[in-house]
């Protein structure tokens, strides 16, 4: 990627609007006028086909994880994933529940983790600043890792989510 491509990508990161768990309640103050995120170029977009960043905010149940994987595979390259909260790192407060998966790194590749339960809006801004520094230094290459190690990701997804033909084929 050339210099001007990198700079224009940093200054306008569009986020898919998908509120997957409890962490979404602190995303609402981030995009309104007290802690304003639009001055950095970050706005929400309605579809995954027109966005750069997927923010996984909170815990992952098995029913939601199937839809997160389908949303991630619909986004065009290059794409980044930001994981919010303690439940994506190693299970969090639901470590012994039969319905939540524990580590997000086994299913889709993650670039930045933000710790906390919930993280404050100021921490979310620090996480996005870290992501911008990583893009500038050519270190945010989660999408390349997904192409190269696809067999390993698919094996983990099948072990946790069941029969692979049923939910990978389109419904309508």
């Amino acid at each position: 990627m050339s210099g001007i491509g990198k700079t224009s990508r940093i200054k306008s990161l569009w986020v898919t609007y998908y509120v997957t768990g409890c962490g979404g309640i602190e995303l609402l103050p981030v995009i309104t006028s007290r802690f304003d995120a639009e001055r950095f170029g970050i706005i929400t977009s309605a579809t995954p086909r027109q966005s750069d960043v997927l923010v996984v905010s909170g815990f992952l149940t098995t029913k939601t994880l199937r839809r997160i994987i389908r949303t991630y595979e619909q986004m065009p390259d290059p794409k980044y994933v930001v994981a919010l909260g303690a439940c994506t790192i190693n299970g969090g407060i639901y470590w012994d529940s039969y319905s939540t998966a524990d580590k997000l790194e086994l299913y889709i590749p993650v670039d930045v983790y933000i710790a906390g339960c919930m993280p404050r809006p100021e921490s979310i801004f620090m996480g996005f600043a870290h992501l911008m520094a990583m893009i500038k230094g050519d270190k945010a290459d989660g999408w390349k890792r997904y192409h190269e190690n696809y067999k390993w990701y698919k094996k983990n997804q099948d072990k946790a989510l069941g029969n692979s033909k049923k939910w990978r084929v389109r419904d309508v």
């Binding site: 098995t62 029913k63 190693n90 299970g91 470590w95 012994d96 529940s97 039969y98 319905s99 939540t100 998966a101 524990d102 580590k103 086994l106 520094a133 983990n156 072990k159 946790a160 069941g162 029969n163 049923k166």
Partner: protein, 173 residues
């Protein structure tokens, strides 16, 4: 307190009646008189069914089904309890009398395995593609299920040295 209501109920059904405090009453009844009791008590003004719960008494080999009823005119709460067997859990539906009971019975069917005859909508509600015994029973262990399907990371000395390296990098940045 509530002497007229007690005489009324005990005159028509073989029930055990107990007053706990102001505005709380407990009634225990056997399983064949539940539906006639519900139609009678609805005509006396108890039109709000708050919820239906189920408790698993594994040592006595029984399920207990509890109905919570509230009256807007008299401001009294009745807790109606009954017991069914645990080996063959079959019961009758209350959705002809209270239409809102359909959702609560659908959830008890999925979580405990009780079959309500006459409820036309006993399809999966919250779980998707579930392949084990009903999960709220007392002999299901959620930690064993979670360890066999999902992997976690144990915090060994190798992981701690990696974490300390990342923290040092972030401090100098």
């Amino acid at each position: 307190m509530y002497e007229d209501l007690k005489k009324d109920i005990q005159g028509k059904f073989p029930a055990k009646f107990e007053v706990i405090r102001e505005r709380r009453i407990k009634v225990s009844i056997d399983k064949n008189s539940v539906l006639p009791f519900l139609s009678y008590i609805k005509s006396k003004g108890f039109i709000h069914l708050i919820s239906i719960s189920c408790v698993d008494w594994i040592k006595e080999n029984e399920f207990e089904i509890v109905y919570h009823l509230w009256s807007y005119t008299d401001e009294i709460h009745i807790m109606l309890k009954t017991r069914i067997s645990r080996k063959k859990p079959i019961f009758e539906t209350a959705s002809e009398i209270y239409p809102v009971a359909q959702t609560f019975e659908r959830e008890i069917h999925e979580m405990f395995g009780v079959d309500f005859k006459g409820n036309k909508r006993q399809i999966p509600f919250i779980l998707e593609d579930w392949d084990d015994i009903p999960p709220m029973r007392k002999d299901f262990d959620p930690l064993k299920y979670a360890k066999s399907h999902f992997e976690t990371e144990e915090y060994t000395e190798e992981v701690w040295t990696k974490v300390r390296k990342i923290q040092k990098f972030r401090g100098e940045e």
